[in-house]
Amino acid sequence: MDYVEQRMAQEAAKPAVAADSSSSLLTPLNLLILGLFLYTAYSFFKPQPPAALPKEEPAVVFTTFTPRTLLPYNGENNAPVYLAVRGRVFDVTRGRNFYGPGGPYANFAGRDASRGLACGSFDEDMLTKDLDGPLDTLSDLGRDELEALQGWEDRFSEKYLVVGKLVPVGEEDK
């Protein structure tokens, strides 16, 4: 209580000294509050640029592949994984676990997978060996196999992007 009384006495003695500041605009207190006011006003009225989103991924260019140019897209060294079904090249990179290196379907990566998918076989001998020869026409396949292939193609079309077409070597410009 001593302290309070002491402070009261101090304050009581003051007014005579502080009288001249009661009519001045430029007191520290006024400057402080004015600064606060101006800052708030500035932050309210500061023009803000319109909202922006990060730029989109650029679109993939639709490319014409030959069996040979498709080959590098087998997912090794972080390359994208492409595979071809009946002349359409799908980007299956999102399914890397299946189609990429070490996956169950790894043989198809960078290759024409039509025959393998139709026959339900992932073996090496399902692939067209001669990369410079004509594409597999699949003409010897039965109805069930073509149906299975159609099913795969529909699934691919739903899930993956068509990023190009596959043509035999020598027909790139057609």
Binding site: Y3, R7, Q10, E11, K14, A18, S21, S22, S23, S24, L25, T27, P28, L29, N30, L32, I33, L34, L36, F37, T40, A41, F44, F45, P47, Q48, P50, A51, A52, L53, K55, E56, E57, P58, A59, V60, V61, F62, T63, L161, V162, V163
Partner: protein
């Protein structure tokens, strides 16, 4: 006393010293401060749309072809889905969930007279059709009366062997009636831009192979046409009341012997009163015919003739209806005024959209040439207006000149801030009352939406996004700025309903494609699309494009927010 007590004492003294300086100025500043915060809190409103929706307005296809950009589509029309092809007309009795027909012009008029079909307070309400004559006089046309005119004119022209009907009229009910008459009575409508030089009219008639003309006396070069265009078989004069006593059927001696001349009024009055009240039955109706439109490029160039199928037109109408958010769609409480020529498919599609939405539609034949909002809206207070960029620019200049005082300029700044920073339309308040006086000669508080369009190759003056924003403040209406082209019915792309952003540009962007168009940019020798920037000749595809795909012949660029702009 410990050290802590000393510190506390000093702090205590410092604080009491500081607040001991409180004086009348302090009170004033604090008052202002509180006022500012209160103003901010009380005027705070949620933006009309989420700002990020404006940050990416179109979706790009993930794959593009060599030599062109990705394909851009409206967010409402995802890739892989069909574009918006029609009005989804459901015949009476059809299941609510069934897919409707695309429809054609006939369905638009049937909907206009049937009234609102959706359940709700306005169920059954129909729009009104008005004609503004002079500055004061507004006449209303009963819908039943217009239906009767459609039937009688259609029957008359068809009976006289009309097949390809050229319409050379200013914006008027008769233009619309003839268009619908052609749709219902299986004729091809040809809409000619009004007020053209004689040889241009003649050339357009020749190129379109018209056999019938519906026109108004005084503007149509009858003698020259009869002399030089022998294929003309039939002519219908639309005579105003003042001169209907004259004998318009009389053909001057030696000219036009083979032309069958009649007047609109005679055709309508000669039939019995109870004739022609029912539209032809919908069952067994023939496939809709095309509508031919002439696109006026820059003055002095030949008009480009474009044939739109009925499908092109309804797709354009449907997309315009969809382009407006559901809560703001046109309805029976709206009054729609086309102050741009109905020979433009953009204006026509919007007018048909208004009819289909059961909005009231007003026609003012002088509105088009005047290029002035004040003149166009004289005698009527539309809520939705279609006008030319030239008229808007003129209004902008005139109003800006009035806004020279400091108060007005600050109010303008405050309202522009509402638009660009807060993303909301400025509301009327005590402050803005002062401002209302300065608004262009449009009845305040009524107008809510303005459509305007850049016409490719027609030398329409560019509108910058700053001018559009100013105009939103001046008129209190939202503005939709579209990109239109000869081969595209309606618009190819248009700015979003809630997009009020201002950029540093001379020519505003055109927003995103509509739900019935997709846009891609083809490489030109100078401008090629790269992975970082899409640019090239604007190419539009979709159900509203004549021939399904059209290159517009202008170079465009897709901006970072996926809106289309001229390069």
């Amino acid at each position: 006393m410990g050290a802590l007590d000393n510190v506390l004492l000093t702090v205590d003294q410092a604080i009491s010293d500081l607040f001991g300086q409180w004086n009348v100025y302090t009170t004033a500043i604090v008052g202002l401060f509180v006022g500012l915060v209160a103003y901010q809190i009380s005027t705070r409103r949620d933006p009309d749309t989420h700002p990020l929706l404006l940050a990416r307005q179109a979706q790009a296809s993930p794959v593009r072809h060599e030599g062109e950009s990705a394909v851009y589509r409206s967010q409402a029309a995802p890739h892989g889905m069909p574009l918006n092809a029609g009005l989804n007309v459901k015949d009476p009795g059809a299941s609510k969930w069934s897919r409707g027909r695309d429809g054609d012009l006939r369905d638009i008029w049937r909907q206009a007279i049937a009234g609102v079909q959706d359940d709700g307070p306005s169920k059954g309400a129909t729009g009104r059709i008005l004609t503004v004559l002079g500055t004061e006089h507004v006449t209303e046309h009963a819908l039943a009366d217009i239906t009767r005119q459609i039937n009688l004119i259609g029957q008359h022209v068809a009976n006289q062997g009309g097949n390809r009907v050229a319409i050379y009229l200013p914006n008027s009910v008769e233009l619309l009636v003839t268009l619908f008459a052609c749709a219902f009575y299986n004729m091809t409508a040809i809409i000619l831009p009004f007020d053209q030089p004689d040889d241009a009219v003649l050339s357009m008639l020749r190129r379109s192979a018209a056999d019938t003309v519906v026109t108004a006396p005084g503007s149509f070069p009858f003698d020259a046409v009869v002399k030089n265009y022998p294929s003309l078989r039939q002519l219908v004069w639309v005579v105003d009341e003042g001169s209907s006593h004259m004998d318009w059927n009389e053909v001057p001696q030696g000219t036009g012997g083979s032309v069958n001349v009649s007047t609109w009024q005679d055709i309508v009055t000669d039939y019995p009163v109870d004739a022609g009240h029912d539209l032809p039955a919908q069952e067994g109706q023939k496939d809709p015919r095309d509508v031919t439109i002439f696109w006026q490029a820059a003055p002095g160039t030949t008009e480009e003739m474009v044939r739109f199928t009925a499908g092109n037109l309804v797709s354009a109408v449907a997309a315009q209806i969809f382009a407006i958010p559901t809560a703001q769609r046109m309805g029976p409480s709206d009054l729609f005024l086309p102050a741009d020529s109905l020979a433009n498919t953009h204006t026509l599609a919007l007018t048909l959209a208004a009819l289909y939405s059961n909005a009231s539609v007003a026609f003012n034949s002088v509105a088009v040439g005047a290029n002035d909002l004040a003149v166009a809206t004289r005698g009527i207070a539309p809520t939705i207006l279609v006008t030319t960029p030239a008229a808007l620019l003129k209004t902008h200049q005139e109003t800006a000149n009035h806004l020279s005082s400091v108060i007005a300029r600050n109010l303008h700044w405050l309202q522009t801030r509402d638009l660009t920073q807060n993303g909301v339309m400025p509301v009327a308040s005590l402050l803005t009352r002062y401002y209302d006086r300065l608004r262009p000669g449009i009845k305040p508080g009524k107008l809510r939406l303005i459509f305007t369009a850049e016409r490719v190759g027609a030398a329409s003056p560019p509108l910058s996004s700053a001018v559009l924003s100013d105009l939103r403040v001046y008129t209190g209406a939202r503005i939709i700025y579209a990109l239109t082209a000869a081969k595209v019915a309606g618009a190819a792309a248009q700015t979003g309903f809630y997009d009020y952003r201002v950029f540093d540009d001379n020519h505003s962007h055109f927003g995103a494609p509509l739900t019935n168009t997709e846009i891609l940019l083809r490489d030109t020798p100078e401008h090629k699309t790269t992975d970082s920037l899409s640019k090239g000749e604007i190419t539009v595809r979709g159900p509203s494009v004549a021939g399904n795909e059209a290159a517009l012949g202008v170079v465009g660029v897709i901006r970072d927010d996926n809106t289309l702009a001229y390069l």
